[in-house]
């Protein structure tokens, strides 16, 4: 049958064959691309997390040397390592890896119990574990990013599989009539099944393989493009393309299985029909139940009703295009709105806020501020207007309730504003007190800026707290934290509450020093000079690993001047270990490029999704002659004019292209309203920057292509002789 029938049929029905091949190719391409990208994203996330935070899964504090072997002997433990940087003397901290990490949340308490430790001695690498979909059963709000991505992957994959299925099934359904003829002349169901399978293999194997390979190449290209766009981002872990044969096997298997099932369906349908019923099945559009197209009928008259009913009858054939066009337009619109809002938000929270806070930032990795000696040299560089070297540390401050400012008390006190501060037993609040340790010169400059006598024997207190009752986080208003009565502040070691020290207060201020820093909303920030820190560091400790240098250039400094400054600074600090230097203008450019890159990748994805939908519309309209000739012959026989038929085609095209718009607009409005509400942005600000032009272009392209598909299909229909269809019994 292959030689005598199928091969010839494929050759003679090029448009139908090409549409199946195109659907198989595009769907396999997308499936492969999406699966490969997801796999690479997952691998990248794990690499990034392990590089930044280590690959440990569980961590136990406060164990002894002998405790290590107890942990090693636990059945599920793969290995144990002593964490040198966190261990202090007898107090050993051990990092633990498990053979099966899924039971970590039940195993760790058992281990600590065996060690005679409290369960709080155990901590978990929650971020890393969440990437393996291992969540703390007690956690009511576990990190669900991975779950979200997996759900998204499944939805996209199922949609793509449906596209292959629909394209194949629709074409095969239309063949029932021919298979009925075969059956009537004695072809066995087995022969027909073989014929269908041979056609499926001939049409789909090569496109599926080609699509899968190109999808993998596309994924490699996407990663290369991402690296290119993100090149300027300091400290970013570069992605390396990786592939797993299992991903390829799953992609190919899913595609081929879909083709197989889709090809089986008409064979199954045929087995339920008598040859005569099959011969009479011309795949003509019909409705099983009475339907009314009220809106179209009201708007466009009888042609509107006919078009509406025809669309309902073609529902199955148009499912792919409806799904892909709607998803693509929705994805494109939401993506653009999301990036517009992100851009506005980033401008507010970062670029505008830090516009004058820094020009060049240097991060001295794993360097104590006291070990850095080139501060003066940098300060004296030609183009440097101002420079501050600083390091951050954490401490706790005990603030008596009576010392709270009147403004804060009027709002109901600290608990009313922050909701989470801890009241200690003796009427004091235990509040986080981040410490910014500044080089002495920078600190003295700050004193001058505040109008106080420069000195290095006390701290400047940032005396402000966010009024969360009367303002939102986007447009924060501050009130004084404490009454400015105390001349000293008591600081406590954040890890060891017994270590306490008292330091003099030089001034209270509501103006922080201009650094590229954002401070906790309810923290009591201290700016201290290095000289003072050297005296108290033994008690307070808890410094962060890195030291920073904030440098400001001349007013209106240009990118090339900043780059020149960067190279001069590099020369000064070349002896210092690992260093990262960023400049503000370059960062803005890189951020824009990164955003454009992400938008391009998402945009291309949406455009390709739209192409699938449009390809489906084309394959449908190219099949008009076969499927709808008799329908239009009937309209002609009762006196419908060619203009009436054109009107019908136009209405159908309008509905197909307009449906994504009708679904997308309200959904986008809801999503955008939600995003605006969540980010506390001014809706008018969004409206002024709403991405209307790209959305209109995308929509016009959908309307244009769908209209063109209907123009071609309609033209062919109106050109052909409809009279034969009226008397041909096999068109029944």
């Amino acid at each position: 049958m292959w030689k005598d029938y199928s091969a010839g049929f494929i050759k003679k029905n090029k448009s139908s064959s090409i549409s199946i091949m195109a659907a198989a190719f595009i769907s396999a391409l997308f499936l492969s691309l999406v699966c490969s990208l997801f796999y690479n994203f997952w691998i990248y996330e794990i690499e990034r997390i392990t590089t930044e935070e280590g690959s440990w899964q569980g961590r136990i504090e406060g164990i002894t040397e002998s405790g290590i072997s107890t942990i090693e002997n636990f059945a599920n433990v793969e290995k144990v390592e002593i964490n040198g940087s966190l261990s202090e003397g007898e107090n050993i901290v051990a990092d633990v890896w498990f053979q099966d990490m899924r039971t970590i949340y039940s195993d760790m308490p058992l281990i600590t119990e065996k060690l005679g430790l409290d369960s709080t001695a155990a901590s978990y690498h929650e971020l890393l574990l969440s990437r393996y979909m291992v969540h703390d059963p007690q956690d009511k709000t576990p990190p669900l990013l991975m779950t979200f991505f997996i759900a998204l992957l499944i939805v996209v994959s199922v949609s793509l599989i449906l596209i292959i299925h629909n394209s194949f099934a629709v074409s095969m359904d239309a063949r029932i009539h021919q298979f009925g003829i075969f059956s009537s002349i004695g072809a066995t169901p087995g022969q027909i099944f073989t014929c269908v399978m041979q056609e499926a293999a001939a049409l789909c194997i090569l496109p599926v393989l080609a699509g899968s390979f190109i999808g993998i190449a596309g994924s490699a290209g996407t990663i290369k493009a991402t690296n290119f766009f993100a090149e300027g981002i300091a400290g970013r872990h570069e992605a390396v393309f990786q592939y797993q044969p299992l991903v390829f096997a799953v992609t190919i298997l899913a595609s081929l299985l879909t083709v197989f099932i889709s090809a089986c369906l008409p064979a199954k349908k045929l087995s339920r029909l008598t040859p005569l019923q099959a011969i009479r099945d011309a795949g003509e559009l019909s409705l099983k139940k009475k339907k009314r197209s009220r809106v179209l009928s009201m708007l466009f008259g009888v042609e509107g009703e006919l078009a509406g009913n025809a669309l309902k009858a073609q529902k199955k054939a148009l499912r792919t295009s409806n799904l892909s066009l709607t998803l693509s337009f929705l994805g494109f619109t939401v993506m653009l709105c999301f990036f517009t809002l992100t851009g506005i938000s980033t401008n507010h929270t970062y670029f505008e806020r830090y516009q004058d806070a820094w020009d060049v930032m240097v991060t001295l990795k794993n360097t104590e501020i006291s070990d850095f000696q080139q501060g003066e040299e940098i300060r004296n560089l030609q183009d440097v207007r101002s420079s501050v070297v600083y390091q951050k540390a954490t401490a706790v401050c005990l603030l008596p309730e009576s010392n709270m400012s009147d403004e804060l008390s009027n709002l109901g006190g600290l608990m009313a504003v922050s909701g989470n501060s801890i009241m200690t037993s003796d009427g004091c609040y235990s509040v986080k007190a981040p410490i910014v340790i500044m080089d002495d010169e920078g600190f003295e400059d700050y004193c001058e800026q505040l109008g106080i006598v420069p000195g290095t024997d006390g701290s400047i207190v940032l005396n402000r707290i966010w009024d969360s009752i009367n303002s939102n986080f986007r447009y924060k208003e501050y009130i004084p934290f404490v009454k400015e009565e105390q001349s000293t502040i008591t600081l406590q070691n954040a890890a060891q509450p017994g270590n306490v020290t008292e330091i003099p207060v030089l001034a209270y201020t509501q103006e922080p020093v201009t650094l590229r820093e954002e401070y906790d909303n309810y923290a009591f920030v201290q700016f201290v000079p290095l000289s003072l820190w050297e005296q108290i560091s033994g008690i307070i400790g808890n410094t962060e690993a890195d030291t920073y240098i904030r440098i400001l250039g001349k007013d209106g400094v240009t990118l090339s001047e900043l780059e020149g400054m960067q190279s001069e600074i590099s020369q000064v600090i070349q002896q210092t270990g690992s260093v990262e230097i960023e400049n503000r203008i370059q960062e803005k450019i890189s951020d824009n490029a990164m955003q454009k890159g992400v938008m391009m990748i998402f945009g291309a994805f949406c455009a390709l999704l739209a192409m699938i939908g449009i390809a489906n519309v084309f394959s449908n309209t190219l099949g008009f002659l076969r499927q709808r000739k008799r329908e239009f012959a009937r309209y002609a026989s009762v006196g419908m004019t060619p203009e009436g038929m054109r009107k019908m085609f136009a209405i159908e095209a309008f509905v197909i292209a307009g449906r994504p718009l009708m679904i997308t607009l309200p959904l986008t409005a809801i999503v955008v309203a939600f995003m605006i509400a969540a980010s506390y942005l001014d809706p008018m600000e969004f409206l002024a920057e709403a991405p209307l032009i790209p959305i209109l272009i995308f929509l016009s392209a959908i309307f244009g292509f769908v209209g063109f598909a209907y123009y071609i299909g309609g033209k062919r229909m109106l050109k052909c002789d409809l009279t034969d269809a009226l008397r041909s019994d096999n068109m029944m």
Binding site: S286, G301, A313, A636, S637, V638, G639, M640, L722, D729
Partner: protein
């Protein structure tokens, strides 16, 4: 009064060696209120003639005048409008629109013309054809005989000058065939409806007032019975 006149109508399909002459110089005249049966073997050209008379096809040569208007000169739009107003077509396989209810199918020619429905006439037609209880059904929910009655109702709804029926009983059993012919006769007598019916069944042809026989695209006999 002459309602239809064919003058030297010729229809040729294909070209060169593949040329087939379906109709060859047909001259035919039909008076208003006549019931004419056109008979002939399969491939004799009778369906082609009916399609040309119904303006769904065009002659290669010759004139077709219906109610004094030459329909062979009309363009597609003019022909469609003429068809919906002046010609009712009934086919062997009904050709009802499967996505519309029977009522909408019957009213289709009026709806296309944005004309108001004469409710009294509509009820008269559907009652006389016995389908008044089937108006809200879809075509595929009815039997063949019921579908053909609906097709006749649609053909009559505009009170056309000509009712053209192409093997209207070809797909029906004997009982239904008789009923359909009786209905055509009834409309011919009661409404003075001019009917041209194609059939290859001699028994059914005998029900008509006049029998025209076609062979190889030519009229070989034209007998008036009454």
């Amino acid at each position: 009064m002459e309602i239809l006149k064919c003058d030297g109508v010729k229809k040729v399909y294909g070209c060169g060696d593949n040329q087939v002459t379906a109709l060859d110089k047909i001259d035919l005249s039909v008076e208003k209120g006549e019931f004419v049966a056109i008979v002939g073997a399969s491939g004799s050209g009778k369906s082609t003639l009916l399609h040309i008379l119904g303006s769904v096809d065009k002659p290669t040569e010759g004139k077709v005048i219906v109610g004094g208007v030459d329909i062979s000169l009309m363009n597609a739009t003019q022909a469609a409008i003429f068809r919906r107003r002046n010609v009712g077509l009934v086919y062997q396989f009904y050709n009802l629109i499967p996505t519309l209810t029977i009522q909408k199918n019957i009213l289709m020619p009026l709806l296309l013309d944005k004309k108001k429905v004469n409710q009294e006439y509509f009820e008269q037609v559907v009652n006389s054809l016995g389908i008044s209880d089937k108006l809200n059904f879809l075509p595929n929910q009815l039997s063949g005989g019921q579908q053909q009655r609906a097709a006749i109702a649609r053909a009559l709804i505009y009170r056309p000058a000509l009712l053209l029926a192409d093997e209207p009983t070809g797909n029906l059993d004997q009982k239904n065939s008789k009923e359909i012919i009786d209905m055509l006769k009834l409309s011919n007598r009661n409404l003075n409806q001019t009917i041209l019916m194609i059939t290859h069944d001699e028994k059914i042809a005998l029900e008509a007032d006049r029998i025209v026989t076609i062979e190889d695209g030519r009229i070989i006999s034209d007998q008036k019975r009454r």
